[in-house]
Amino acid sequence: MSDGPDESSDCVVSEAPSGCRWVRAAGTLSRNARDTLVLLPEGGEDQTPLVVSGSAALLWELLADPITLSELAAELAAIYEVEASEIEVDLAPVLEGLHTAGAIERSP
C-alpha cells in the first residue's frame, strides 16, 4: 500500500520519459457516477475527494493497469474518433492533476 504520491511526485507528466507508465495508486478510493468520477487518494489529512468529469470514468478504467500517456491517448482517440495527438495534449494536465493529488503513480 502506498503512503501517498510516489517518490517522483514532483515530476511533470508531460516531461516524463515517453515510456513512463501510469497506474492507479493502490490506496485510492473511487466511485463512478456515470461520466463523473469521485476519487479519494490515500494520505494526508485533507479528506476532500476529487471530482473529475468528462471521460474520467473511462480514463480511470484504463488506468487499472500500467499504461503510458501515448497508449492512453490512442485508446481514447479510437473511442472518441479524434486524433491521438490532440487528446494527448488535453490528457497531460489531467494526469498531472491526478498524480499531484496522489490518485495515480508511476509504475515501477
Binding site: 478510493l29 466511485r31 456515470r34 463523473t36 479519494l40
Partner: protein, 399 residues
C-alpha cells in the same frame, strides 16, 4: 402476518412516498416493482413534488438509486432536476469515500492491536451485495467487535482519538449487555463510529449467539486493504434486524438491502433460518421479509418469501417484537423486555442493578439526577401501559 400479494398502493400513502418506494425497488430482478418503476417515465414532477422526492432520497440514502432511474430514463425529469440528482449523487459519493477512508484507518487500528472486527452495514453491503457500490450510500462507519474484547477495543479507540458520548452504567455492563456505542472524533467533521457488540438493542440483541458471528467472514477490498465483513447469511439477518428493530418508521434502504440480498440468489436459506431459530429471531426474519415484500411490491412467489412464510415464531418472540413495533416503544420498555431473555439469575441481577442504580457519571449527562431519571422511566412505562390497554391486541399483527 400474511405476505401482501402485490404493490402496497393505498390511498393513505402520499404520492412522493409511493414513488420513493418504487425507486427503492428499482432494478430488482423479477419484481412487480421493477415494472412499476418502468412506468414512472411520464411527465417530470412539479417542483414541489420533486423537492419532496429528492429530500426523501437524501434522507433515505438512496440518491444512487434515484440517479440510476434518471440515467435509465425510467423517471422523467427536467434538465435542472437531472442536474440536481447528479449533484446530490456526487455529494453522497464523496461522503461514502470519506467514511470508507475512516473505516480503513479503524481496521488498521484494531488489527494493529490484535482485535477481531467485522465491518457491518453500509460499506460492507455496498461492496458485497450491490452490483455497483455507487447505488448504496451510508452515513457512518459500523464495526462489530467481540464482546470479550469490548473494553480493550474502547481503550484502543480512545487512544486513537475517538470519544464515547456516555459512561457505562456499571463496569462490565457494556461487554455483557449493550448493543453497542456511538463514538465520535472531536477533531474531525463529525464522523461517527457505531461500534457494535451485537446486532440489536433489547431482547433480540441478547439472544443473538455472538460466537456464530465470528465463525466465518467474507472479505472485500478497499483501497488495497482487506476488510472483513459478516458472511452473506449473517449480513442478511443483520439487515432484517436493522429494518425491523431499528428506526420507526423503517427506512427504505434496509428494506432494499433485504430485497437485494434475497434476490441475488446466493443466500443459503437453510443457514439463514437455522441462525434465525438459534438466535430466537424467527419473528424478526418473518416480519422483515413481509415488510420488504409489501413495501417494495416484490413477487410473493419468490423462494425467500415462500420459505419464510412457513416459519412459526413462538408467542414469546412475537411478544418481544411487539415491544419494538409499538408506537410507544421506549428505551425503558426494551430494557425491561430484555430481562426476560437474560439466562442466568446472577446476570439478571447485574443487569437490573446497573440500570436501576447506575454510576453518577452515567446519569448526569442525560438527567438532572437519579430522581429525575426514575420519574422519566415511570412516566414512559405508564404511557406505554395506557396505550397497550387501549389497543385490541398486544401483538404486532394480532397473532
Amino acid at each position: 402476518m400474511n405476505l401482501a400479494p402485490a404493490l402496497p398502493v393505498t390511498l393513505e400513502v402520499p404520492a412522493a412516498t409511493l414513488l420513493a418506494r418504487r425507486i427503492a425497488a428499482y432494478g430488482l430482478g423479477g419484481s412487480h416493482a421493477q415494472n412499476a418503476a418502468g412506468s414512472l417515465a411520464g411527465e417530470p414532477l412539479g417542483q414541489g413534488e420533486w423537492s419532496v422526492l429528492l429530500g426523501t432520497a437524501r434522507h433515505e440514502r438512496m440518491v444512487g438509486l434515484l440517479a440510476r432511474t434518471v440515467a435509465d430514463a425510467a423517471l422523467a425529469t427536467t434538465d435542472d432536476q437531472a442536474a440536481e440528482v447528479r449533484e446530490a449523487h456526487v455529494a453522497a459519493l464523496c461522503g461514502d469515500l470519506v467514511h470508507e477512508r475512516e473505516l480503513i484507518r479503524l481496521v488498521g487500528v484494531l488489527r494493529g492491536s490484535g482485535l477481531d472486527h467485522r465491518a457491518l452495514k453500509g460499506a460492507a453491503v455496498a461492496h458485497l451485495d450491490y452490483p455497483d457500490p455507487a447505488l448504496r450510500s451510508f452515513a457512518d462507519v459500523d464495526l462489530l467487535v467481540r464482546a470479550e474484547e469490548w473494553d480493550d477495543a474502547i481503550q484502543v479507540l480512545r487512544e486513537a482519538g475517538w470519544e464515547r458520548q456516555f459512561a457505562q452504567p456499571r463496569p462490565g455492563f457494556e461487554r455483557r449487555f449493550v448493543k453497542g456505542m456511538v463514538l465520535r472524533r472531536p477533531d474531525d467533521g463529525g464522523t461517527e463510529l457505531d461500534l457494535h457488540r451485537t446486532l440489536a438493542l433489547g431482547p433480540f440483541g441478547l439472544t443473538v449467539r455472538l460466537e456464530e458471528l465470528w465463525a466465518d467472514c467474507e472479505v472485500f477490498r478497499l483501497g488495497g486493504v482487506e476488510v472483513q465483513a459478516l458472511p452473506a447469511e449473517e449480513r442478511f439477518l443483520h439487515a432484517c434486524f436493522h429494518a425491523v428493530l431499528g428506526d420507526r418508521p423503517p427506512r427504505l434502504v434496509p428494506l432494499r438491502d433485504i430485497a437485494q440480498m434475497s434476490l441475488r440468489g446466493n443466500l443459503d436459506l437453510d443457514r439463514v433460518i437455522r441462525h434465525a431459530r438459534s438466535w430466537r429471531a424467527e419473528a424478526v426474519l418473518l416480519h422483515a421479509v413481509e415488510l420488504t415484500w409489501e413495501t417494495l411490491g416484490l413477487d410473493p412467489t419468490a423462494e425467500m418469501a415462500t420459505r419464510v412464510r412457513s416459519l412459526s415464531p413462538s408467542s414469546r418472540e412475537i411478544r418481544a417484537l411487539g415491544a419494538y413495533l409499538s408506537p410507544q416503544r421506549s428505551y425503558v420498555g426494551l430494557c425491561l423486555s430484555a430481562i426476560r431473555v437474560i439466562p442466568r439469575p446472577a446476570d439478571k441481577a447485574r443487569y437490573v442493578a446497573a440500570l436501576a442504580f447506575p454510576k453518577r457519571d452515567f446519569v448526569s449527562p442525560r438527567y438532572r439526577g437519579h430522581a429525575s431519571r426514575w420519574r422519566v422511566a415511570v412516566r414512559t412505562l405508564r404511557a406505554g401501559r395506557r396505550l397497550r390497554a387501549q389497543r385490541p391486541s398486544t401483538t404486532p399483527h394480532g397473532r
